[in-house]
Amino acid sequence: MKRDVRVAILTMEGTNNEEEAYQSFRHSDSSPEIVHLKKFENRTRRLDSYDVLFFPGGFSAGDYVRAGAVMAARIRAKIKRDLENFVEDGRPVMGSCNGFQVLVELGLIPDTGKSYAVEAALAPNASNRFEARTVYLNVRRGNCLFLDGFSDGEIIKLPIAHSEGRFVPRDSDVLRRIVKEGLNVLTYVSGSGKEEGYPWNPNGSEHNIAGICNRRGNVLGVMPHPERIFSRFTETDWTRERRGYDIGNRFFESAVRFIREKY
């Protein structure tokens, strides 16, 4: 019998991408559960009973302070140790959009200094407005377990929808280490695969960074929304291209496969 892979999709007030995340994991042959942060805080659920942790997008706590800041503060206050154990155990953790912002606020990525210090921020878009569009991304998989289903240099397409997505490292050392260690696994490119400016890079991110993985390869944060493309009929240009696969699922299938193989 196939091993059941349990996925916790973590929410709080204002998280609003949990439904598509749930559907994505369901389509990727795993057993997702939408879990309110409260349940980890009051111990009615335990993090270590799950195999994969996903931070969906949205506007946790309204993002009225700074994107992801309130959710990260709540996590740090109550379940910091559990989460660090989960990560150090090597289990897959992924966040998209607001989830990426939370992971950065928690210091889980890029974590070039190994101490979970906050080394970067996702600042307001350079255009100074919310941007909803489709972007092209260049994949450099490194050892990122979520990117196992892709090849290096592959160009993929995903939707973005955010107003705070400009990746800004704390200092040039952090940026240097990110590049040196190849943690910038997803970068914005143009339709022809070149690194170009706006709107191909929709938010003005440093080095066109769209996604960052930790060195161990088990924590991935991305600004785009792979969880919204669990069906290829939700791509913006699907009426022009009839391909046979659903691009978003490759992220999640990789994680599920990883668990089945390793645990």
Binding site: E13, G14, N17, E19, A132, T234, T236, D237, W238
Partner: protein, 754 residues
């Protein structure tokens, strides 16, 4: 029975008309002398004077906004009877059947007055309000639409058009994005008509399993009433009364506009749907205009019940609120759930799980009388029927005979130049600066969004399509139709044209039209000419929809869109929904490949009144294009058959700017040009290219399937040319008419957006 500290007695018995009007004004009731008299004679029969809570309750319920007192007689006559059997249910929103187990709940309504006073908050709470209407049916909201009408001229005493526009767009963005429902459709229209009366018509579409549809009527005694969601505050008091009067100075009372909080709304949606899914909810209604007063009254009255409510049990934002303020507050994010006693604790537990304040505030009782208590003192004691039912008005109407001028403009010297100028007109060119600020992919069910085509150079679509169920291929198509320019010239034909556009847009993506919701915008109904236009518009909607056999299942009326001498045209925004049997067969406007054949479905017209071409030439009046619903039905449903059978690559309807603009828009998302010969169309070349005939489409047919396509479409299809190349070339036999490169087309269409 009233307490001097909390609730006062209003002495109205035996008062003369001037006194009554003064009381109405001082209490901001917005009631006329006749209405005050009606109230007074009721209380004379009761041998007492009313409390302030009672007068406020009556004023809410009898406001134009809540009661439709000026429009109801006409709506009954022209709208409510159409295709009744196709409407599954009606309440806060309407429902049509999508398949055996799913129904679509949808509604469009105005948030015009609040948006004119406070653009950001007004538009945001407009989105919040329409979401609750869908939720009230037990449906999961899946899409938001917004049709916006902005002025172009600064009017003294009112905010600038740019300020209003930025505020409205930001309000929709911040609320819609935060609540996590995609904003997929709508439109932006610019005209001097809307200075200073901005119109914000917001729509929402939801999906519900047929066995989970909730009613909003309580027809048994002992049913508990639970208020859930945001706490009640002083915001939004007298909102409905404000929306039932003309604006005077631009200094309207800003406290009449509610404050929204999407971060409360988002879990509220989850919690209410969870309680409903578990079968714990008896009836459901949202708190919007008129607050508790309207909702409790209507819920009980609909089931012939009375009841009691304890106002001091309502969770409050601020202390020291007076009973009447609690009773009529329009604070946002609140729902009223009617629940059987045995399920009350389960419902409260669900609310607790989602951290949502909730409280039992009363229950239904037999007898049809509503009693309200505040600290054990009775502050209201009224029959629900009297409270919720105002006198309906058959207001005077008159129709102004207008002479129709048929213009014959100077023959253009350069058609390419005309085309490019039409493409960069504010009403045609890209609205990406606004639409790309709305999340249109959240929830992962958007199959066709506001744009389609090659990434980075997408063009506009005619309708959006959303997956209706995670495990099925059935989809729901959503669009809106309106043309204030046509309606300003001829409200009757304008109404018909709005129906035509809505149906056209749905057909364009391969959707069978199922139902309409109408948001009717007008000026002061107490003026006979406006009432006359209103009735003409309804006649137009009626004549088209009844022949098409498509029901209007929900809607709203917004009167009093006037300020000083300025008023808007009387016109509808129609929200239309359709069924896409299999989303994988839906189509978009962008050309798909070179070498395929382009057909026109329909023929151009000589009626160019209200057209973009005439507007650019500043030619007022004229005859507006005529929509014949029989022709629409024949062409439309045949085209649907062609799409279903996989004969076509791309479809785009003809609207603003005619064939020339439609053709250009098909090159936007594809970068595939076209060569057309229009000699078969007859007419003057500018009329052929720029007229806006109704019930017309441009279709690009898959290579090799021309014969089959022509068999289905019959005489309604005219072959015009082929796709291909990097420009559009239009000829008339040997004569070169127009040439424009794909690059110049997209550049002009994107003008102003960087």
């Amino acid at each position: 029975m009233a307490d001097k500290d909390h609730s006062v007695v209003v002495e109205i018995s035996g008062k003369g008309p001037e006194e009554l009007l003064r009381i109405s004004r001082e209490m901001q009731l917005g009631l006329s002398v006749e209405e005050m008299r009606r109230a007074a004679s009721f209380f004379e029969m009761e041998h007492r004077d009313p409390t302030d809570v009672e007068m406020q309750a009556i004023a809410q319920a009898w406001s134009e906004h809540c009661s439709y007192k000026s429009s109801k007689l006409h709506l009954k006559k022209y709208i409510f009877g159409i295709a009744r059997s196709k409407a599954l249910a009606e309440g806060d929103a309407g429902l049509v059947s999508l398949d055996d187990d799913l129904a679509v709940a949808f509604k469009i309504e105005s948030h015009n007055h609040p948006s004119a006073i406070e653009p950001y908050g007004g538009a945001a709470t407009g989105v919040g309000g329409i979401l609750r209407d869908i939720l009230s049916m037990g449906a999961q909201p899946v899409a938001v639409t917004d049709s916006l009408y902005f002025g172009t001229k600064k009017i003294k005493g009112f905010p600038s058009p740019k300020f209003i526009e930025n505020g409205v767009i930001s309000g929709i963005r911040d609320y819609g994005n935060r609540v996590g429902i995609p904003t997929v459709s709508g439109g932006i229209c610019y005209s001097e008509f809307f200075s200073p009366n901005v119109l914000v018509n917001v729509g929402c579409v939801g999906i519900v399993k047929k066995n989970e549809i909730r009613s909003s009527a309580v027809s048994e005694p002992g049913i508990k009433l639970i208020i859930a969601g945001g706490k009640t505050g002083r915001d939004g008091i007298h909102g409905v009364n404000m929306a039932s009067a003309v604006m005077e100075s631009g200094n309207e009372n800003i406290t009449t506009v509610q404050l929204g909080s999407p971060i409360v709304k988002e879990p509220l949606i989850h919690a209410v749907l969870e309680a409903n899914r578990k079968g714990l909810v008896y009836a459901l209604k949202d708190l919007g205009g008129g607050g508790l007063s309207s909702v409790v009254g209507e819920m009980l009255n609909a089931g012939g019940m009375g009841g009691k409510v304890y106002l001091d049990r309502v969770p409050l934002k601020e202390v020291n609120m007076l009973p009447w303020e609690i009773w009529v507050s329009e604070s946002q994010e609140r729902m009223l759930l009617a629940v059987r006693n045995s399920e009350v604790n389960k419902v409260l537990e669900i609310m607790e799980e989602w951290d949502i304040p909730a409280a039992v505030i009363g229950e239904s009782e037999p007898g049809g009388r509503l009693r309200i208590y505040f600290g054990n003192r009775k502050v209201l004691d009224l029959p629900t029927e009297f409270m919720t039912t105002p006198e309906l008005y058959d207001r005077r109407s008159s129709i102004k005979e207008k002479k129709v001028v048929q213009w014959l403009p100077k023959y253009p010297a350069d058609f390419g130049k005309v085309l490019l100028s039409l493409l960069s007109d504010p009403n045609v060119r890209t609205k990406e600066f606004a639409v790309r600020q709305y999340d249109h992919t959240v929830r992962g069910s958007t199959v066709i969004g506001p744009f389609s085509g090659i990434v980075g150079r997408e063009g506009p679509t005619d309708s959006s399509v959303l997956k209706a169920d995670w495990d099925k291929e059935v989809g729901v198509a959503i669009t809106s139709g309106s043309n204030p320019f046509y309606s300003a010239i001829d409200p009757y034909l304008g109404g018909r044209a709005a129906v035509d556009e809505t149906v056209r847009n749905l057909i364009s993506v391969g959707a069978e039209p199922l139902g309409f919701s109408d948001c009717l915008n007008a000026g002061n109904p107490e003026k006979p000419e406006i009432m006359g236009e209103f009735i003409e518009m309804l006649r137009g909607l009626h004549d088209s929809a009844s022949i098409l056999d498509i029901p209007f299942v929900s809607g709203n009326v917004s009167f009093y869109n006037e300020a000083g001498k300025r008023r808007i045209p009387t016109f509808p925004t129609i929200l239309g929904v359709g069924r896409v049997k299999d989303i994988r067969n839906s189509v978009t406007p962008d050309f798909k490949e070179p070498g395929s054949s382009i057909y026109l479905i329909g023929v151009p017209t000589t009626d160019l009144g209200g057209s973009l071409y005439f507007r650019r030439l500043k030619l007022p009046g004229g005859r507006i294009p005529y929509s014949d619903p029989r022709i629409l039905k024949r062409r439309g449903w045949n085209l649907l058959k062609s799409i279903d059978s996989g004969l076509v690559n791309s479809v785009h309807d003809i609207s603003d700017g005619g064939i020339a603009v439609a053709l250009s828009e098909m090159t936007l998302g594809s970068n595939v040009g076209a060569s057309l010969d229009i000699s078969s169309l007859g007419l003057r070349t500018d009329f052929a290219l720029f007229s806006e005939p109704q019930s017309c489409w441009l279709v690009d047919v898959k290579p090799g399937l021309d014969g089959k396509f022509s068999d289905v479409m019959g005489e309604d299809s005219i072959f015009l040319g082929k796709t291909g190349g990097s420009e559009i070339i239009i000829t008339r036999g040997e004569e070169n008419v127009l040439k424009a490169s794909n690059a110049s087309i997209i550049r002009r269409w994107k003008r102003g957006y960087t």
